[in-house]
Amino acid sequence: MEGAPGLRPDDLAELGSVQRWLRAYGAFWGETSTADEVLRKLQLLADFCGFCDGTPDDLVDSLFRQTPEGPRIKLKRRRAVMAQIDEFEREFGRGDMTVGREAGNVVRSFLIHNGVALTATPLR
């Protein structure tokens, strides 16, 4: 599975939503990821963006509507994106649940640290 044409990890790194994610992730976990780890995450995010045909910023924007009181989450859209991530996970893993989950969780982490509350079904 590959990202959409024009979506490369280096391009993603400049986007506001991606920078916000990486900053917040580092702040929460109290660490600075290695360049290889960041590259790996950006590649997976690019793969997902190719899968759903959009950019990370578009993805985050699509989940909120602006109101006078501030941004509000679009509930139906969130359910749809959660289902997309599940599907991405299945396709990416090609039968290996652990591999698929790792990929899906990179996307979930990106959304969570951009203020989109969601989680995954625990593996048990």
């Binding site: 976990w29 969130r78 969780n105 625990p122």
Partner: protein, 260 residues
């Protein structure tokens, strides 16, 4: 567990061992604790429906979740759906007279059957019952007292526990909940997959900004010696997060395949 330590040890547990069932007698003990809570007019405000997570269909289980409660609902084997019964105070006239007969409400304090029949029921309870806003506040506070005891009882039984939100509209047909029950919380029960102290005691606001003496604005003086005694008794414990908490969260998240 000693009472002070029990109060100090309760945490909202969000990671449970999904494979470890909860003994039925422990669930009953939790409910028994709720039944014995303090309550106005001796009415049964708190109502609960106990559900075994695995007895629900996948569709029903998913419909009860909210986006941030999904993981703990999947992990905890037992869910107690707590409700506040808006009809509960309707028994007030008879339940108060039972308290008179039991020697709890006594003539020494002005209580009698006549006082219940002629004053308390028509002039106090009936207006409350007929005022939906006031009634909702009353039943929620009273049910909350019962739920608090059930939380502490769960910890005393060595369980992890937490109150969490749920989709009450979805729950109504699944659980066949009566219209006069007001949805409150799900109380989760299970054995913790995280350390039972949840990585430390949660942050709280300053004591002096919560409690006052004589009038609002005069803080209740907090005696450091008492604080030290409570630390020794384990009511006041080490503040979160422990130095290893991040590593614990990460380890558990990876074990269950949860996002970081």
């Amino acid at each position: 567990m000693e009472f002070k330590q029990l109060v100090g040890s309760r945490r909202s547990i969000r990671y449970y061992q999904p494979w470890h069932p909860v003994e039925r007698e422990k669930v009953q003990t939790v409910l028994e604790a709720a039944r014995l809570s303090s309550r106005a007019v001796n009415a049964d405000f708190a109502k609960a429906i106990v559900v075994d997570r695995d007895s629900l269909s996948d569709e029903d289980r998913d419909s009860l979740k909210t986006p941030t409660t999904q993981a703990q609902l999947d992990l905890a084997p037992v869910w107690i759906f707590w409700y506040a019964d808006l009809d509960a105070p309707k028994v007030g006239e008879s339940s108060l007279k039972l308290l008179v007969d039991a020697g709890a409400l006594n003539p020494s304090h002005g209580w009698s059957h006549a006082y219940v029949d002629e004053v308390v029921w028509p002039q106090v309870l009936t207006p409350i019952i007929n005022n939906p806003g006031v009634l909702a506040v009353v039943v929620c506070v009273e049910a909350g007292l019962a739920i608090c005891q059930s939380l502490l009882a769960a910890v005393d039984e060595g369980l992890g526990t937490q109150l969490t939100a749920f989709n009450s509209e979805a729950a109504k047909p699944i659980l066949q909940v009566p219209d006069h029950w007001l949805p409150l919380w799900i109380q989760l029960l299970g054995y913790p997959a995280e350390s039972p102290d949840g990585g430390g005691q949660r942050p709280r606001g300053p004591f002096e900004e919560m409690f006052f003496e004589g009038r609002y604005g005069t803080p209740f003086r907090r005696d450091p010696a008492v604080v030290e005694e409570l630390k020794a008794a384990r009511m006041i414990q080490e503040a979160a997060p422990h130095p290893w908490r991040q590593a614990e969260i990460r380890g558990i998240s990876r074990m269950f395949g949860l996002p970081e």
